[in-house]
């Protein structure tokens, strides 16, 4: 299931600080819902264990994340993949870039993600909703870590798909192979979470 997300967010922090936070495993570990461990292994990689639930499928993802094309404080390419055992696998890549703007830092991301196995068979229609729901949690935590607060999100976040009634889940079903999720005016924290979550897909 290929899913793509693009977006941008303005963070109320200096570029150097955002960059540092995005590279700090301890900060990230505290922000990722269900993250059980996140450890740097080598200069440009992390290994991570994230426990999550997509609809009926609960899984512990063991993943690795590799950073490449690194231009410090400007951009990098990040690729991640995780095996969720019986639940299947998730993998994705993102081009992330930062730029100075008035009042802080603009973060841009362009993500492609795939899920496979049981998640694709049963949970494909739920993946988007779960990603968005978890994003809200992540961004609230990340904002605190950055010394800021979450700006109130414009539209209500999608309900956690696991708790959504079947009709809502059905309505949220992406077109096979070309699900496009383009957040509009959503919380900046949520947007960061969206790309970050995808590292472990």
């Amino acid at each position: 299931m290929a899913m793509t997300m693009t977006g941008e967010a303005t963070l109320p922090a200096a570029r150097g600080k955002v960059w540092a936070l995005l590279n700090d495993p301890e900060v990230l570990k505290g922000c990722i819902p269900g993250c059980q461990s996140l450890e740097r292994n080598g200069d440009n990689g992390f290994s991570a264990v994230v426990k999550t639930k997509i609809g009926p499928v609960a899984a512990t993802f063991k993943g690795k994340v590799v950073l490449s094309d690194i231009v410090p404080e400007v951009s990098y390419r990040i690729a991640g993949e995780g095996e969720g055992g019986v639940a299947g696998f998730a993998k994705g890549g993102a081009k992330v870039s930062l730029a100075d703007v008035e009042g802080g830092t603009l973060l841009r991301y362009d993500v492609e993600a795939h899920v496979g196995g049981k998640m694709a068979q049963l949970g494909s229609r739920l993946v988007d909703g779960v990603a968005k729901g978890m994003a809200d949690k992540f961004f609230a935590s990340f904002a605190e870590a950055a010394g800021g607060r979450v700006a109130p999100a414009a539209p209500a976040p999608e309900p956690l798909a696991a708790a959504a009634p079947p009709s809502a889940a059905r309505a949220a079903r992406p077109l096979v192979g070309e699900a496009k999720v383009i957040p509009q005016q959503t919380s900046w924290l949520r947007r960061i979470w969206e790309w970050f979550m995808l590292l472990w897909r």
């Binding site: 299931m1 290929a2 512990t60 063991k62 095996e83 969720g84 055992g85 019986v86 299947g88 696998f89 795939h114 899920v115 496979g116 196995g117 049981k118 694709a120 068979q121 049963l122 494909s124 229609r125 059905r170 096979v176 192979g177």
Partner: protein, 788 residues
């Protein structure tokens, strides 16, 4: 005709236990000390397995054993086989890759078997499987069958370069090309026969049960052909020799072909049971059924039809790419070749036919026979292209069919088949009348007044059943003979047990076989029981598929009953003190010709066993006879189905308004059961036409792996059917039967699509014609009509 004999619509004996929950399906069976298997399946369509770490999983509570491909290989467990050898055009044998029961170093489709966890409960086996760590290196997936053989694609099997299993052909290419060169009109058609998932009500299940004391292996399995399963698992997989191996297929809740094949799961359960010396049980979850039951159809075809100026068909040529999935299933090579192309003559006298079939591997579940198996693909091609040819040449589709029908029998087609009998024109006439074909234009106008589009579609299908003379099967590459066996055991009090190598999993054989015995021996059907599905009870047999349990299985039974009657006459002769030649047998009574001296069947049976009235050296005591029947030809059920439907162009919703079926199944044993088979077949065919489509995404993930995404036909998708029959008895078997199990599924898809395209006024509609597909097609119709 007696109330329970041949031709009577006797209610099915077996239904009482099925509808009261008293059936014995496989999951109802439990063996002492049994453990449970859970199969860890590949989430990737194509990947190498770099490492399988089971250390954590082995510590999980209740785990008995964990096995993977290496363990199978170490025990020299043979791979699963494809039992039908096809040779390519160049004479080379088909190129089949290995098909291990547990993946060895590489996975080739999502759902491929990576490891098995055996634990004391199913839940614990599942929990442990969560803890197995598998490192995969993903490979590019080959999903699109049309491009599978193209250069630079990933390769599934080293043994099959360009993912190509065979390039097969049939017919005379030069003569066919010549017919096209001189044709007055050529109709061309590109079509896709959509991939289907069988969805039997009962999922597949197995228990392997090894008895170390006697060194015998028992396999309970949801099989349509337990003896074939035993043969393959003995002779090729090597689990146990046949005399130490019992296979039991109890009540089976539907198969539609998908339970013919020998799968990895039952193989592993049987093998593992011996390995751990405990019974091992596995029952598929529904998602596993979607992933790993052999799928059906999945063809991409280009076809052309040549006609002369009078509308006479002079040639047909076709090129088909058939997707066989990631591994070759038990009969997968047979389905797109000899079960398909020899039916491309349809009901028509077509002098020149040529067909090429390329079979390819893709990273999808194996594809094999599914209700109709090859014949629906052929009928869809022929009935679509003939319909389109009629429209293109401005002829009534019924008339174009009529002028091309085969009218004299026997008729040798250019593609192998010798049609023995039929009345194609008679079936068409009757169907047109029942469907009020003449009134269709009036009804179309009425629909148009309501803003609806009405269409009527004809399907004049033919199929080949009762496969087939074993010698012919052997010449065509089949690895088995396709005869059938029957044994009739008459008990001393005159009740009868019939043992058949056919297997009943929805066909109603326990009733129809009893009807035949009742008719022949003059005893009530309550006094007949039908035993099947156990290799320890029943002599070797070939199982049930291809609508063969009537035409072949009951022919064997008929032959065995001939022997019983002959023996019983001898016994009766001794009892009545008359010569055997003077004994007449009628309605259950043996009578000395021209006298009132008679004795009933039960008394003869008792005398056969007491053996007081005859010399046991001259006449053997007992009354038990067996027979093997080998057909002399295929049988050729044929008929005309007419579908009339209405389309709401605003929503794309198709409502089938009328369905008329006139089928020729030869003689009927039980018209009610026949009608039920036709109903079920039509429902499945309508499912293919309107609702069902298995979809893999470009990564090879099956995105239709549950009933949320794979739509099965329901009662509200169907009208009340008008089902009638005509009868031209089959000359190649003693009962005149042709077989009825698959006809509906073969006839229905072209009838539906011909009706939809008739309503829309263009041919651009693919199966399944979901509301979305039809709505888009209706937009095209609107644009086209606005331009006119």
């Amino acid at each position: 005709m007696s109330a329970t004999g041949i031709g009577a619509s006797v209610k099915r004996k077996e239904d009482i236990r099925f509808i009261t929950g008293k059936g014995h399906y496989l999951d109802d069976i439990n063996r002492p000390g049994q453990a449970y298997a859970y199969f860890l399946r590949s989430p990737h369509a194509h990947a190498t397995i770099d490492r399988i770490d089971t250390a954590e999983a082995r510590k999980s509570p209740g785990v008995v054993a964990i096995f993977a491909g290496d363990d199978i290989a170490a025990d020299k467990v043979g791979g699963l086989i494809c039992g039908w050898m096809i040779h390519s055009k160049d004479g080379s044998p088909m190129k089949a890759g290995a098909h291990p029961a547990l993946a060895q170093g590489k996975v080739r489709y999502v759902g491929d078997h990576v490891a098995v966890v055996i634990a004391d409960t199913y839940a614990r086996a599942r929990d442990a499987a969560e803890k197995i760590e598998v490192s995969y290196s993903e490979l590019p997936a080959v999903i699109d069958l049309a491009r599978a053989a193209a250069p630079a694609q990933a390769q599934l099997h080293d043994a099959a370069p360009n993912n190509t299993i065979f390039n097969w052909h049939i017919g005379d290419k030069a003569a066919t090309d010549a017919a096209f060169a001189s044709a007055a009109h050529v109709t061309k058609l590109d079509l896709v026969n959509n991939r289907l998932i069988p969805n039997a009500m009962e999922p597949r299940s197995a228990i392997g049960d090894y008895d170390a004391g006697t060194d015998t292996l028992t396999l309970y399995t949801t099989s349509q052909n337990p003896h074939v399963a035993r043969l393959v698992l003995s002779a090729f997989v090597g689990l146990a020799p046949e005399h130490k191996f019992r296979v039991i297929a109890p009540d089976v809740g539907g198969g539609f072909g998908s339970k013919i094949f020998i799968y990895a799961e039952e193989t592993v359960c049987a093998w593992a049971s011996k390995k751990i010396d405990r019974p091992v049980k596995w029952t598929a979850e529904r998602t596993e059924s979607f992933l790993s039951d052999a799928h059906g159809r999945d063809h991409v075809t280009h076809a052309e039809l040549a006609l002369d100026a009078q509308g006479k068909i002079t040639g047909l040529r076709a090129h088909t790419i058939a997707n066989l999935g990631a591994y070759m299933s038990t009969f997968s090579s047979f389905v797109p070749t000899y079960a398909y192309a020899p039916l491309l003559s349809g009901q028509y006298d077509i002098p020149n036919i040529y067909c090429e079939v390329d079979a390819v591997y893709t990273n999808t579940a194996p594809v094999d026979a599914y209700r109709g198996a090859g014949r629906p693909e052929a009928a869809f091609l022929v009935e679509r292209i003939v319909e389109i040819a009629a429209r293109e040449t401005g002829r009534d589709p019924a008339e174009l069919r009529r002028i091309n029908f085969v009218k004299a029998f026997p008729h040798q087609t250019p593609v192998l088949m010798a049609y023995d009998t039929g009345d194609f024109g008679g079936a068409l006439d009757k169907a047109l009348e029942l469907a009020d074909y003449k009134g269709a234009s009036r009804r179309k106008a009425e629909s148009a007044a309501k803003g609806k589009l009405r269409g009527i579609g004809i399907s004049a299908y033919i199929e080949a059943c009762g496969v087939a003379p074993s010698q012919a099967v052997g010449m065509l590459g089949g690895g088995v003979g396709l005869w059938e066996s029957a044994e009739v055991r008459v008990n001393p009090i005159g009740t009868v047990e019939v043992l058949t190598g056919c297997h009943s999993h929805g066909q109603g054989n326990e009733t129809t076989y009893a009807q035949l015995v009742s008719s022949r021996l003059g005893i009530p059907i309550e006094n007949v029981s039908v035993v099947h599905g156990d290799t320890d009870k029943v002599q070797f047999g070939m199982g049930t598929y291809g609508s063969r349990s009537g035409a072949v299985g009951m022919s064997a039974l008929s032959k065995a009953l001939d022997k019983v009657e002959a023996k019983a006459k001898k016994v009766a002769g001794h009892v009545l003190e008359a010569s055997e030649g003077d004994i007449e047998f009628k309605e259950g009574k043996f009578t000395v010709k021209g006298t009132d001296k008679s004795i009933d069947f039960g008394s003869v049976a008792l005398n056969a066993y007491t053996a007081h009235k005859f010399n046991g050296q001259e006449l053997e005591p007992g009354l038990k006879e067996g027979a093997f029947w080998d057909p002399t030809n295929f049988t050729f059920p044929a008929g005309v189905h007419i579908c009339e439907l209405e389309i709401d162009p605003e929503t794309g919703v198709v409502t089938i308004d009328r369905w008329t079926a006139v089928d020729d199944f030869g003689k009927l044993i039980n018209p009610m059961i026949v009608e039920g088979q036709v109903h079920g077949g039509i429902a499945q065919g309508v499912g293919q036409a309107l609702l069902e489509g298995a979809r893999y995404n470009e990564d090879g993930q099956l995105v239709t792996a549950s009933y949320m995404d794979y739509c099965m036909p329901r009662a509200d998708n169907l009208p009340s059917f008008k089902v009638e029959t005509i009868e031209t008895p089959c000359p190649s078997n003693p009962l005149g039967l042709k077989g009825c199990g698959e006809a509906g599924a073969i006839a229905a898809p072209p009838a539906v699509i011909n009706a939809i395209t008739d309503a829309l006024g263009h041919e651009d509609v693919a199966m399944p014609a979901t509301p979305q597909v039809v709505w888009r097609a209706a937009q095209k119709t609107a644009t086209k009509r606005a331009a006119e």
